[in-house]
Subunit: 192 residues, 2 copies
DNA sequence: CAGCGTATAGAACGATCGTTCTCAAAACAA
DNA sequence: TTGTTTTGAGAACGATCGTTCTATACGCTG
């Protein structure tokens, strides 16, 4: 087995465990057992737990970014592309493994004691806002729209996580439609 | 010193520490020292750490609920009362001690391993949605509006916490104005 | 087969967790 | 004062944390 295989397996296992139960609740021994790797090999690949955490955050960032972009590319019209992120959220929330945004969660857990985690979470959210900003600019919307839609997306994530339902995606999407149509000066359709 | 004084001081100290650094990062010994109370007295007042955590959650819930309601009562018009929550958020975000919503944070930290914490967080957020629902109903808005504004408020909290700025309150407020005016069928003012 | 280098499983380390116990000082009763 | 009870600070407990070390099994070369 190559070194890359081992690394990948460790990160994938840590991804699952950290997402399901949080970072501090998962010890190195449990990760070692679940990944089927010796403790020595684990520390051969990663110098410390925090380096595994950072690798998992990178995986989460890549997975989220790619998944979102793929979903956005399915839409053609600028308005639909702006709203596609909420369809992506809906799919995500529907997964059994969904337990909230890993960045919000890891920031809540470790943001105050780990500057690295805090900064990575901040950059991830910032890159999302920048991405939404590009979509909004393509649609010709004023610059206010992007942070508003981003806040809606964040709120949907925490609401879905805590409430345990995926309704939040639908609510957020309908709110986004109103905001987008107002920004583009279209008449927004209202559920009479 | 009465028993109530000791309890109150322990809870107030735990409030500060848990808010600033998270729950799992603060040990009983640190809490004991910061509260100026012997370990024996601490365990005399609370049978376990988790009971302290629950007491702090109750304090957070009461503080948030009362603060929000006080702010809402300052406004008279139904529309202003609906938007007042975002002014309350703005004040909160501006405090030095702000480090995100304690319920979102504690849910992220312990929701998966402590059913009590998960349920309390769920109920807190649900009670907020119900409160917003009453405000929306008083304004004559359709039932869709309340969850949408709630999601905006949640998103503002996580965004303000992670980004470290209080801009999110303003963005959320402006988005809320558009949603409220659309729901009430008023022409929404746009920043041309 | 003999001998050597590597990889592994898991024992063990020091630190810290939540919690309990000890034991001396303080407070009170008579 | 003397005897009893309550309080106090903090030592100590077992468990678990992240991390390191050791002792054994294995694969290779000759």
């Amino acid at each position: 087995m190559t070194s890359d295989d081992v690394r990948t397996r460790i990160i994938a296992t840590a991804d699952d465990l950290y997402n399901a139960r949080g970072i501090q609740s998962v010890g190195m021994d449990e990760l070692r057992t679940a990944a089927g790797v010796s403790l020595k090999k684990l520390y051969q690949e990663f110098p410390s737990k925090s380096s595994i955490v950072m690798a998992v955050l990178e995986r989460w960032h890549a997975s989220w970014t790619e998944g979102l972009d793929a979903r956005v590319r399915q839409a053609d019209a600028p308005r639909d592309r702006l709203l596609a992120m909420f369809d992506y959220l809906a799919e995500w929330f529907g997964q059994d493994s969904f337990r909230g945004c890993g960045f919000i969660n890891s920031f809540a857990e470790l943001g105050a004691v780990s500057p690295d985690v805090a900064e990575y979470a901040r950059k991830h959210k910032e890159s999302f806002q920048v991405y939404v900003g590009h979509l909004a600019a393509d649609a010709g919307a004023p610059s206010d729209l992007a942070p508003q839609l981003s806040i809606l997306a964040e709120g949907a994530q925490t609401t879905a996580a805590i409430a345990g339902t995926s309704d939040a995606a639908g609510h957020a999407r309908r709110a986004a439609e109103v905001l987008v149509d107002a920004a583009l000066m279209r008449p927004s359709r209202r559920a009479g």
